[in-house]
Subunit: 644 residues, 2 copies
């Protein structure tokens, strides 16, 4: 139970200037490569022109998700403009917004597919057709863009559309008692409420959250209304979209993992506003289930391609892990919200795990290729999202320039562009420092403006130096996160050691801060062999290497083929070093492993062990950060390494 | 290359009376339970009545495979009658044959679906619609039934139908240059030729084999003729049905595994008749590929559900292994044919592996429940043939009473009923003994009638005693198979040791045999730890237990849950014993294993190994024959056991 809802705010994106280091480099790549590449792909695939609503029979059909791709791209642009103004980019976004404006219908409705292609099917299939999801992403884009530029055009468009939606859905007579098969609008509406002050938007979000899964099930009702049989639902169960029972009766993370974590984020937003203790408990119960039973060590969610989602507790296959990039992103959203409800670093520990691993793996180092699925092991011909995988292809799994269903690339772009917002939270008296990377930020704690500068090469280096800037000496608490992975740390202020125990994962320094005060935090960062929970059968007998928040992997290019036969003796020493020439400078782990293989093999596939004589040969191993895998020569990859 | 095609005949079913032992018991269960249960299922699902052709719109549709189910059932009945006459069963079969007779059309055509339901679609889609496959199974049933009973009605029906097919397909002007998407008729036509002496049937088989994969591809041609686009083929490639290039250009086992092994069996039949060296080489090349790269240790074939078939070399996942029962059966057919082309026990080694393991697992001990897929590991909620596996079910994978596509149960019934035929082959001068189990047989070697009796409790016991009965002393060779798994054996005739080396897997005793001569063969049968080929990543670090031809597995009911954590120390002693109370008496393997698990686990899914302290606790292990798994309390199962 969350006993008391706490009210903390994440730092505004614009107030955190990230300067170099891992996230600075990633943001630069995002800005210079990823955001333009996504626009280019949207252009050549017709996602820009589609807003002109010129589709006619015989043309390729726009996809029902295209609106959301643009919404997320605009949001990414908005965040990028907040820290790095760019007139040309802003003009490009303005032009798109003009197109969107023209696509809005007189009644406020706004959707490419259900205006240009199948207007007769508006709101006919909320279960599958994503109209409200599209609206949600456009709302988020509108809110961010108004905040970034002060331009309200898209925000006004989306308010008109939301008014239309509000008039259409709800419990009042004559309204449809529907909600979206793909949650997203719930959290978007709360943002729109905060941006506009219009309480109806919050109430609509609350309605969507509460109505979901109520009897009679709306998805049954609308299916029958279409003249179809609900029993023929392709996904077999509304657990797929978390709509089988009301959220208040749900106890485990289930179904499509992106839908799930977006929904839970929206629920957390409702809690933050209402203090609803029952809903808060639901959030916490599902969170615990997720992180204790269903999360990859990379922060990836959802092992299965079939439902793009969860299966059952401790079922975490590696090669076929779906672990959609969007699911890691949604987990970051949810984690941030959970922290702002309850100040406990366990949420940020998970957020950090996802950010440095299963999220960042979603984009190539050069920034223009993307993973949809993020498996934890890879083998030629095995592809986690192709059911004919291994049968007709002869390829290594690799990042693609684009996807037919392109949710991940712009989602990733908006998170990288807004990553600064995840570094800090503030309350009336406390400045929480969650993440470490070089940055210069201006934060408000109570009434005090605090300029904070971080100097560090985290996560490759243990030391973080922070310099405090204040106009006049000011008393407030600085709460520094001691990550779950860190078992020993030292802390000093202006060179004098501070002895303080961490509480709920934060060491709090309360003092009157003077301009120029420096805080030095050293987080001991040994190479850890991480053991899997004993119920995870797919990882039995293996360890994963982790240093700081970063999970490492073996790639064939460094370690040769047949990585399943590469093992780490229990006593083998492992050393971390910094490779300045790899991916702009990253940590690597090396050590003395062994290769366990028979000397030679002839004939049948299976032979008495006494005949084939399996041998152990020394093999130096080199592990690189998982998030950078598949950026060099293609080949096998493994996170979980046999231990002998 | 097979340098010279050898002509050997497998023993006629009727001449091998199996008496008790593993196969005697399995045959009794097949006769008393399986064959009646299959008829019952066919009756209640409409497969019997469907022959009346009374289908009308609105009725449930017969399946396009139903004819083949009945064909295989009749074949199973025929074999059973050969060794165990049963007037009631014969009358039941006769009644079915009367129904089939009435279903035959005036032009000879015979197919339930394409007569009663979609007559307009006859021969319109050979790629997907299985008409020739259905015909093949009915032909096989007809040949066997005529041989068993002397009644020619079904044989005459099928000759008329085959004449119709022969008039329809071929290279002559006005004929369709087609062949079946699901091979089977090829081998059936060779049997029909042998049963009737009608050479046209053989030529038709040869045509189907040779025409397959020729340009222009017939499946393209017929698809275009239906007004469809061949690029939309659901399986993406004709490799699925081995029809992308002519068989003479094929080098690896690929596609749907049952189709593959039926096709290769048909090709071997053509070789046996024609001595075609090129085709013989194709058979051998594909065989080598299959057994060296793509076969499970159980003799299972085809790891993937997506194509019910092969993926790529060394890709042999265990939990999701498809390894269809029918594929193991088809492998047995092919292996028998390969031996009869080339006297080498390597074919019979594979046949024996499939028979005792991945084939026999297809039916429950009590005989009325069936596996379609035969995975090598099982975990609650994981189901190799449900793409939503683990998402909506809460079950252990278990045998079913029936399937919508019910190919496996009657296929299995016909093989068990005819198992005697696989025990022996004879040539002009040699009696080959392939399999060991109590039986009394009457075989013809050259002109000599040999009565052979085997006394043994193989595969649980090492010793086999054979007694020869002849009317007068006769000179011939008896070639006893020394299985690949056997690394030491002793042999005596009438108590006198015989020193003879095995050649191509057979020890040959040439002598003048007198009535009552006894041969005693002792095949040393230690428990073997079988090592997997080092390229099989899914088995890395594991061993499988095998004793004699039998592969063993761990079940949860004997070994507790979390079988992934149960390991065998490299030096642990393993002992075989006979458990008279288990499944009517089977061998079991026991030994001292360890359970490798942390003492306790709290909190996150992943923790530093130095914190959780993984411990090894002694755990007695008990392994049972894989073929009998899932017959007791449901739970986990594993063939490949971690070794430490």
């Amino acid at each position: 139970m969350i006993s008391e809802i706490q009210h903390t705010k994440s730092a505004p994106v614009k107030d955190v200037q990230i300067e170099g280091g891992l996230w600075g480099e990633r943001q630069a790549t995002n800005r210079n490569r990823t955001i333009p590449a996504i626009y280019h792909q949207m252009e050549i695939t017709g996602r820009v022109d589609a807003w002109r609503l010129k589709w006619k029979p015989g043309d390729p059909k726009p996809h029902i998700f295209w609106d959301s791709d643009m919404g997320k791209w605009l949001e990414a642009v908005a965040y990028s403009l907040m820290t790095h103004p760019d007139a040309a980019l802003e003009a490009q976004a303005d032009a798109v917004i003009d197109l969107i404006e023209q696509a809005q219908q007189p009644d406020g409705y706004l959707n490419i597919f259900f205006t240009a292609v199948e207007p007769e099917n508006r709101w006919k299939n909320l279960r599958d057709w994503h109209e409200l999801y599209d609206a949600g992403h456009l709302i988020e884009g509108a809110v961010a863009y108004a905040e970034a530029t002060g331009k309200r055009k898209l925000l006004d468009i989306m308010c008109r559309y939301t008014d239309h939606i509000d008039a259409r859905f709800g419990r009042d007579e004559g309204k449809l008692r529907g909600y979206c098969g793909h949650p997203e609008i719930e959290l978007a509406l709360v943002r729109l409420y905060h941006a506009t002050g219009e309480k109806r938007y919050f109430e609509l979000s609350k309605y969507f959250v509460d109505e979901r899964g109520q009897q009679p099930l709306y998805f049954d009702v609308e299916t029958v209304a279409r003249g179809e049989d609900p029993r023929n639902y392709w996904a077999k169960t509304y657990r797929y979209c978390q709509a089988h029972v009301p959220i208040r009766e749900q106890k485990t993370a289930m179904g499509h993992s992106v839908r799930a974590a977006y929904l839970y984020s929206g629920v957390a937003d409702i809690v933050a506003q209402t203090g609803d203790a029952e809903l808060a408990a639901v959030c916490k119960t599902i969170w615990d289930d997720l992180v204790q039973h269903q999360m990859y060590i990379t922060g990836g969610l959802g092992p299965a391609h079939a439902n793009e989602g969860f299966t059952f507790a401790y079922d975490l296959p590696n090669e076929t892990a779906y672990a959609e990039t969007c699911a890691a992103i949604a987990l970051v959203f949810w984690a941030q919200r959970m922290f702002n409800l309850e100040h406990d670093s366990r949420y940020i520990d998970v957020m950090e795990r996802a950010l440095y691993n299963g999220f960042l793996s979603g984009v190539s180092f050069e920034g223009r290729h993307f993973f949809y699925a993020n498996p934890l092991a890879s083998f030629p011909n095995v592809n986690p999202y192709d059911r004919f995988s291994g049968i007709t292809t002869e390829q290594h799994y690799h990042r693609e320039e684009w996807f037919d269903c392109a949710c991940c690339p712009p989602n990733l772009a908006r998170l990288i562009a807004s990553i600064g917002s995840y570094f800090y939270s503030t309350s009336n008296d406390t400045l929480f420092v969650h993440l470490y990377n070089q940055n210069r930020s201006t934060l408000t704690v109570g009434g005090t403006t605090v300029r904070l500068a971080q100097q560090t090469n985290y996560p490759w280096d243990e030391q973080v130096e922070m310099t405090v800037g204040v106009d006049a000496p000011a008393r407030f608490k600085m709460a520094l996160r001691i990550p779950e992975w860190c078992r020993s740390y030292t802390l000093s202020v202006n060179g004098a050691a501070v002895q303080a125990a961490a509480a709920r994962g934060y060491v709090t320094i309360e003092r009157e801060w003077a301009n120029g005060d420096t805080v030095t935090l050293r987080l001991a960062m040994p190479v850890e062999r991480m053991a899997p929970h004993p119920e995870i059968r797919q990882d039995a007998g293996c360890v994963a290497l982790q240093r700081g928040p970063v999970v490492y992997c073996l790639e064939q290019v460094d370690n040769g083929p047949r990585l399943a036969n590469v093992a780490l003796p229990r006593e083998a020493k492992l050393e971390a070093s910094f490779d300045a020439n790899l991916f702009g400078g990253v940590g690597v782990i090396s050590g003395e492993g062994v290769r366990v293989e028979p000397g030679e093999w002839q004939g049948s596939l299976y032979q008495p062990q006494s005949v084939v004589k399996v041998m152990q040969k020394p093999q130096p191993i080199k592990a690189i950060p998982y998030c950078f895998w598949a950026n060099r020569e293609p080949g096998e990859m493994r996170v979980w390494i046999r231990e002998i």
